[in-house]
């Protein structure tokens, strides 16, 4: 097989930083090539160089594509040559139909008048190809993230794609949607489409990739070929972080105290559709010093469970009791839930957890302004001291606590959210996907923080889609499916197979 793409000693410098340093990447015709590395390693920059976001001349090195030296001026230029990127943040217009989205900017028209019949016919063809059974007139708004991802791929196919680049395509997908997407990639490969996939999920990488290239600190560290060697996750992780990670999960002494947090017979109905029950009589408890996991597929109601408990932030017709330290707690409003000793670290830190335009200091104090004020008057020096303390304790990498949160990396942003909730001094922390979208190093630090919380006698309820993470961190795991807790496993009993079988047998 010949090389479709060869990027030779690509160097890209921004004022003061060398983002890419002599990176080499060779992608063979018809393969699935995985690009892995920690956040900030330079993967996205490399793909921007490739797709012409950074035009030829703004970087050093050469790109050889399909036989000739490619010098793309912009994205349109690279798209004409069949290089298509699907970004993590989907670029679909929610209130337009599938068909309209597929041919946006590429309308099937003669002299500006759209040929709707032709558009629908071609849309149906493309949807069949990606295995999406929806009418072309369906609004994108009504589709789940998984299906929207498929629409994006169909859109790429409509442009005669030759090299498909997917930036973390499964980050927001449920297990089954992810599987479907990976299968589609394999199918496209069989039809001759070459793809580059950027992913943090190493099990997926191992499953579909023919070749894996690891990038660290702007340089190529290694390239592994699945056809000539066996690729293990440990090998990839080692190359990614540059050290052996014998323990991906830090050790913790497991001591469970008295029952701290106890929820019984919790029922919740859907926010808009009052007849749909989202949570069905869920009962669970967390002991002091215990880390308890909730496993389940995306859409099984895990976030809805957490948010409905935390000040009725989700749903309606909520019933059930919450006890903290044996006392019935009033959690009917967020401020009351906080007073009762609860904290909820959201899965969506950018839109629900942080005020991106404001500095770290103001984000840290937000949930507990009483702590930096007296009689309603703020003490900004106290606030600075507090946030400085958390910056050190959490190892938030920033020149100052007056830095706007939007300038931080995902891992550091997550540490700011955690700081905010730790400052509110809760007894029980509900962590919803605490490590989503952050790199291996930051993950390890967050696990360390969770262990510290447990050592302090706090109760931690951890929701996660990554089963290895739950298995590595939790003392006990509840399994959730379709709004009900369908099983409970101790750390010793739990395994990926046990959890999956509990989900499917229900």
């Amino acid at each position: 097989m010949s090389a479709l793409l060869e990027m030779r000693s690509i160097t890209k410098t921004f004022p003061g930083v060398k983002a890419l340093d002599e990176v080499n990447l060779t992608v063979r015709e018809g393969e699935i090539h995985a690009l892995v590395g920690e956040n900030g390693a330079g993967k996205s920059t490399l793909m921007k160089v490739l797709s012409g976001v950074y035009p030829a001349g703004s970087y050093e090195g050469e790109i050889h594509y399909a036989g000739d030296l490619a010098q793309f001026r912009d994205i349109a230029d690279s798209e004409r040559r069949g290089i298509i990127i699907i970004h993590q943040e989907l670029a679909l217009v929610p209130l337009l139909s599938i068909a309209e989205n597929l041919f946006l900017g590429n309308e099937q028209a003669t002299r500006g008048v759209i040929d709707w019949q032709g558009t629908f016919r071609r849309t149906e063809e493309l949807l069949r190809k990606v295995g999406l059974r929806e009418a072309p007139t369906t609004l994108v708004d009504t589709l789940g993230v998984g299906k929207q991802q498929l629409v994006e791929i169909a859109k790429a196919l409509s442009k005669e794609v030759r090299l498909l680049i997917l930036d973390e395509p499964t980050a927001a997908l449920s297990e089954s949607d992810s599987q479907a997407l990976l299968n589609l990639l394999l199918e496209l490969k069989a039809q001759g489409v070459t793809s580059i996939i950027i992913s943090h999920k190493l099990n997926e990488v191992r499953r579909v990739a023919d070749t894996v290239t690891v990038i660290r600190d702007g340089s190529t560290v290694s390239t592994m070929d699945a056809r000539t060697q066996k690729i293990t996750e440990d090998a990839i992780v080692r190359d990614m972080v540059g050290r052996d990670m014998a323990h991906r999960y830090p050790e913790r002494e497991r001591v469970a105290g008295d029952v701290l947090f106890d929820v019984t017979d919790w029922n919740v109905f859907h926010q808009e559709h009052a007849e749909r029950q989202v949570i069905k009589s869920a009962s669970f408890h967390v002991r002091a010093g215990e880390v308890v996991g909730i496993a389940g597929l995306m859409g099984s109601g895990r976030t809805e469970l957490a948010m409905s408990i935390f000040g009725r932030s989700y749903g309606q017709k909520i019933s059930g009791t919450v006890r903290i330290k044996g006392q019935e707690a009033d959690v009917s409003r967020v401020d009351r839930a906080i007073d009762a000793g609860l904290a909820y670290v959201t899965e969506d830190r950018k839109s629900l957890g942080l005020i991106l335009e404001e500095p770290i200091s103001r984000n840290v104090s937000l949930a507990h302004l009483q702590g930096v004020s007296s009689r309603g008057i703020l003490d900004e020096n106290e606030e600075t001291e507090v946030s400085e303390r958390y910056r050190k304790a959490m190892n938030i990498r920033t020149p100052s606590v007056f830095q706007k949160v939007m300038n931080l990396s995902g891992g550091n942003q997550q540490k700011v959210v955690l700081s905010k909730w730790l400052f509110a001094e809760p007894e029980v922390l509900i962590l919803d996907e605490p490590t989503r979208g952050i790199d291996v190093g930051a993950k390890f630090e967050i696990y360390g923080i969770i262990n510290q919380l447990s050592a302090m006698g706090k109760g931690v309820l951890m929701i996660s889609s990554e089963m290895p993470e739950l298995l590595g961190m939790c003392d006990r795991i509840y399994v959730m499916n379709e709004g009900a807790l369908v099983g409970e496993l101790t750390a010793e009993e739990a395994s990926q197979e046990r959890i999956m079988s509990l989900i499917v047998t229900e």
Binding site: F310, G311, S313, R333, V334, D335, A337, I338, Y344, T346, S351, L352, G353, L354, I355, L356, E357, E358, P359, R362, L366, A367, L369, Q370, S373, G376, I377, L378, E380, N381, T384, E385, P399, S400, F402, K404, N407, K420, A424
Partner: protein
């Protein structure tokens, strides 16, 4: 309450150029105001800064500034209020009907008017806060409704005049508490016929307070290692602010002294600046505008806060309506027409963001004065209303473009 204190501080001593770049917005606004004042001072042959004109300038812009305080809060919280001009006119009409037609004591009428303003704010805020109806729509409706109500109330006529005591609300001056002898003794020093000692001494007190609190803040920040402003800037800024205050007070003291309205405006500005910058309530308003969902999940009662922002706006619009009616000495159905746009423009020129979460009280007040000086200067120069409108429009556009450009450069 100085301009630069209202922006985010940054650590570490940095180059002056870099510092200026980071705070271009704050200083830019101040320099723009000074430049415009200097420009019109020259173009009007010195008329702009004559005592009588300064007094005029303050009176003319008082109701805009009073409403800008409330509007800043509404805009920072992520909303907008298009009804304030109409509400202002309606309250003026209500006052006129009560005081002139019904002979209700004016103090009682003032109280009723302020309460009515609060109720109007509550009626609009209720839909915005608890029903999530876009504020643009709710207050657009309010604008029409209250314009109609003023017409109805006044039966299409102008109603006036008001009793003298009521007029003093806008046109009155604070009586000099110092013996007249002192003023007469000082007068020759200033080459004036009379000197209002109260105005002079208040100017000195205010200037001293600003320098003192600025230095105290600076010392404290230094102790916490967050010195941001280069010393030269600190000194220059204080010299300009103190100079301006002393200059204005001196000018006022040689005319009729301190207008009542200046005191009202000054006190309100101080209260709202303190409220937005130094209190938990103020912080929560910024959080609400910055990210409503995150604020709500942090235990902030976002609905109630939005509601209160509108109630506050209603009360301030009522206060402005009273001042406006007192100043014109009559209530007309046309009062307050399109004034909401001047108020909103002032807030945006002052650096507030359309999407909420950003903006300062001091910025809004300076923005209002900037527009006020433009209006006044152009009127003295005899520039037609046609050109005045165009120039004001372009200034607003330029200020916001400058904001957006600045932001994109910071990345």
């Amino acid at each position: 309450m100085s301009l630069a204190d209202t922006t985010t501080t940054e650590t570490g001593p940095k180059g002056i150029g870099e510092y200026l770049l980071g705070h271009l917005r704050t200083y830019g606004l101040l320099f723009a105001l000074l430049a415009i004042i200097a420009f019109f001072q020259i173009m009007t042959g010195g008329t702009l800064l004559r005592p009588v004109n300064i007094t005029n300038l303050l009176l003319q812009n008082s109701y805009i500034i009073i409403m800008a305080l409330g509007m800043l809060i509404v805009i920072v919280s992520g909303n907008i209020d298009l009804s304030v001009g109409s509400v202002m006119g309606f309250i003026g009409a209500l006052a006129a009907v009560m005081i002139v037609n019904m002979d209700i004591p004016f103090l009682l009428a003032i109280v009723i008017c302020l309460v009515a303003g609060g109720l109007i704010g509550a009626a609009q805020g209720y839909w915005v806060a608890y029903w999530k109806i876009p504020s643009f729509i709710v207050t657009l409706a309010g604008m029409l409704v209250f314009r109609g109500l003023s017409l109805l109330l006044l039966e299409g006529q102008s109603v006036g005049p008001f009793p003298r005591e009521f007029q003093a609300l806008a046109n009155g001056f604070v009586t000099d508490i110092f013996p007249a002898g002192i003023g007469q003794t000082l007068a020759p020093l200033f080459d004036a016929r009379q000197v209002n000692v109260l105005a002079l001494s208040l100017g000195v007190v205010a200037a001293t307070a600003i320098v003192w609190s600025g230095m105290r803040n600076r010392a404290r920040n230094r102790a916490y290692g967050i010195v941001d402003e280069p010393r030269s800037f600190f000194i220059a800024r204080n010299v300009i602010v103190v100079g301006a205050i002393l200059f204005i007070m001196f000018k006022l003291s040689t005319f009729r002294g301190l207008p009542n309205v200046l005191i009202t405006m000054g006190v309100l500005t101080l209260i709202y600046a303190f409220l937005t910058e130094r209190t938990v309530l103020g912080r929560r308003i910024y959080a609400l505008g910055g990210n409503q969902k995150a604020a709500k999940l942090s235990g902030i009662k976002t609905e109630r806060l939005t509601f209160l922002a509108f109630v506050n706006m209603g009360v301030l619009a009522a206060a402005a309506g009273l001042v406006f009616a007192a100043r014109l000495n009559t209530a007309t159905p046309k009062a307050g027409f399109a004034l909401e746009l001047d108020v909103i423009a002032a807030v945006f020129i002052g650096g507030a963001s359309m999407s909420g979460g950003v903006g300062t009280i001091v910025g809004a007040v300076v923005g209002a004065f900037l527009m006020g000086v433009l209006n006044n200067g152009m009127s003295i120069m005899g520039i037609g209303i046609d050109y005045q409108q165009m120039i004001k429009g372009l200034v607003l556009l330029a200020a916001v473009i400058f904001d957006v450009y600045n932001k994109s450069k910071q990345g």
